[in-house]
């Protein structure tokens, strides 16, 4: 009990949800059970009334802005007009943080339409760092960058994902938003151990966590192969909570944990149940770390 109390006081972890209109009413009703809301920036930036409505939302709860269309992780220069447009949100509210992805979304000539994993090499590291610095100058703060799930191993890669991410964050000082289901999906699809990934990645730079669910799909060309798809339409699997405990044990930072659900919406009570489960997972990890320190001190 004493260990739990000390662990709790030391960290100021926050737990929240992605803002979805389906849950808008329930989020307002249960605002005291949620610490933070994450909005998708692109959903608000194109409509002046929605942009302004963030002022009211921000009076109710802290907000983090999550972007999906900037495509910072690329050897190509980022589209400055897109960043300037997104920066309008920052004129309206002061979010707690903002985030993007370790992904590119466009080439010089066309929009891909979703997040794509870039080759993990020196060119994309340099390009990413440059783009992150441009974004920082326009918006005024560094983003957290999220690892993405991919069904295709990016060609021309010479580094592992963890090595590549570590180099980008080291050179840019941006933080990491660790999406645990993306990690789980990649580890399943590319046959590596997610715990080994956690050992390799720089846990000191992790500040945010995303939790979500997915489903198994058949490879359309090789039906005997099964892939894990991160679709945000399913409940958080148990392995994610275990990974969350491991991260909480090893990460020295206060963590912001966000549950993402984009469809097949269960009851809001079920979402709150998953939020509470994530709190317990974090607490377990913090307690483990505290006990470990305590015994190491004794030795």
């Amino acid at each position: 009990m004493g260990a739990a109390v000390v662990a709790e006081v030391r960290f100021k972890d926050r737990f929240g949800l992605g803002w979805r209109p389906e849950y808008a009413a329930n989020i307002l009703m249960n605002i005291d059970k949620i610490d933070i809301i994450e909005i998708i920036g692109e959903n608000f930036v194109n409509d002046k009334h929605l942009t302004n409505s963030l002022k009211t939302l921000a009076t109710q709860i802290p907000i983090s802005i999550h972007c999906v269309s900037l495509g910072l992780a690329s050897s190509l220069p980022v589209n400055i007009k897109r960043i300037e447009k997104m920066a309008k949100l920052f004129d309206v509210i002061t979010p707690v943080s903002w985030s993007e992805h370790f992904a590119f979304v466009r080439s010089k000539y066309f929009e891909i339409g979703h997040l794509a994993a870039p080759p993990r090499n020196e060119d994309t590291i340099k390009g990413s760092v440059k783009n992150i610095n441009v974004a920082k100058e326009i918006i005024g703060s560094l983003p957290f960058l999220e690892n993405i799930a991919t069904l295709v191993s990016p060609p021309c890669s010479v580094l592992s994902e963890a090595q590549w991410i570590n180099q980008i964050v080291q050179k840019s000082s941006a933080g990491i938003l660790l999406d645990l289901h993306n990690l789980l999906a990649n580890s399943y699809n590319f046959k590596f151990c997610p715990i080994a990934f956690l050992d390799e990645i720089n846990l000191n730079m992790i500040y945010m966590i995303h939790l979500s669910g997915g489903r198994y799909i058949e490879n359309p060309i090789h039906p005997e192969k099964v892939h894990l798809l991160d679709d945000h339409l399913h409940d958080i699997p148990e392995e994610i909570y275990n990974l969350l405990t491991i991260v909480a044990e090893k990460c020295p930072n206060d963590l912001t944990v966000i549950i993402e659900r984009d469809g097949c919406f269960p009851s809001f009570n079920h979402i709150l149940f998953q939020l509470n489960k994530s709190k317990l997972a974090i607490q377990k990890g913090r307690n483990n770390a505290h006990l470990k320190r305590k015994y190491e001190d004794k030795l």
Partner: protein
């Protein structure tokens, strides 16, 4: 050109234009001041507070009555417009003081509209009035005096022209000043409307923001059964009005026939300019490029 030299009809036209301009100026002066009022940090969990802000006590009480009926805490008496509590202990299941006051009214079989006349129900809204007033979302003494101060100049301008013309006409032996008098009264009525308008700009902005945030949910209300999504319906009704779905509107019309509620034909008309284009989508899952 001296407007006082204008002939009767031309002067009246000039005066109409002057009054319209002064009313616009008054509105601008008030809006500029009230635009600086921040949207306060107040809890928006209570849907009846939002309904009270939007349309006052009657709206909040009717919404509470309809919500309690949807929850099954109030039941109809044999097809009449009388309601009563479904169980003696229903009043203990009230979540807000206004609900408790409404349930107390219907402890005995009572006409639904009677709830609007009961003192306890009106008093249950006193806290809403106090909270909204203290946060400058509805008019209070401070707002009233600030508006009055800003209406002085437009009032004086229009009064000056009307009084000079009035006395000039009388001194020339003409007494055809009735239209001028009527126009001046209408102008005073316009100023009075601006002076006493219940919601402040901050209150209007708060409601506009709520409409923008909840428009995607509003558009889904037809696919959301009332008994499964009661809180959503209550909140939407508070933000947009009880004419959200025909069934809700028909219920209000049935129990409160004297209020003559009309349905809004489509959702965009009640959203006004606050309708958002948000699809509400998330990242969509980082599914990757596929194989």
């Amino acid at each position: 050109m001296n407007p006082f030299n204008l002939n009767g009809p031309y002067f009246l036209l000039f005066y109409v234009i002057l009054c319209v301009l002064m009313l616009v100026l008054s509105n601008v002066l008030i809006t500029v001041f009230e635009r600086k009022l921040p949207i306060p940090k107040i809890s928006l969990k209570d849907p009846y507070l939002i309904a009270y802000l939007r349309k006052g006590m009657t709206e909040a009480i009717i919404l509470a009555t309809m919500t309690l009926k949807a929850r099954g805490l109030l039941v109809e008496d044999n097809g009449s417009r009388k309601l009563k509590t479904s169980r003696p202990e229903s009043v203990n299941m009230a979540q807000y003081p206004i609900e408790k006051a409404v349930l107390t009214v219907f402890n005995r079989k009572t006409e639904a509209e009677e709830v609007l006349n009961r003192k306890a129900c009106k008093q249950s809204c006193d806290d809403y009035e106090k909270l909204l007033s203290e946060n400058n979302l509805i008019i209070n003494n401070y707002i009233y005096h600030q508006r009055l101060y800003r209406l002085c100049f437009p009032f004086c301008i229009a009064s000056f022209f009307s009084l000079i013309r009035f006395f000039t006409a009388l001194s020339e032996g003409r007494n055809n000043v009735l239209f001028l008098f009527i126009l001046f009264i209408c102008y005073l009525g316009g100023l009075w409307y601006l002076l006493s308008y219940r919601k402040t700009d901050a209150g209007l902005r708060l409601l506009g923001d709520l409409k923008a945030l909840f428009t995607p949910l509003y558009k889904r209300t037809k696919t959301m059964p009332l008994n499964e999504f009661l809180y959503e319906h209550t909140l939407i009704a508070a933000v947009f009005g009880m004419d959200i779905t025909p069934s809700y509107l028909n219920t209000v019309r049935h129990y409160f026939p004297s209020l003559n509620r009309d349905s809004k034909k489509d959702s965009s008309s009640s959203c006004g300019s606050s309708c958002g284009s948000s699809s509400g989508s998330g990242c969509g899952g980082c599914g990757g490029c596929g194989s």
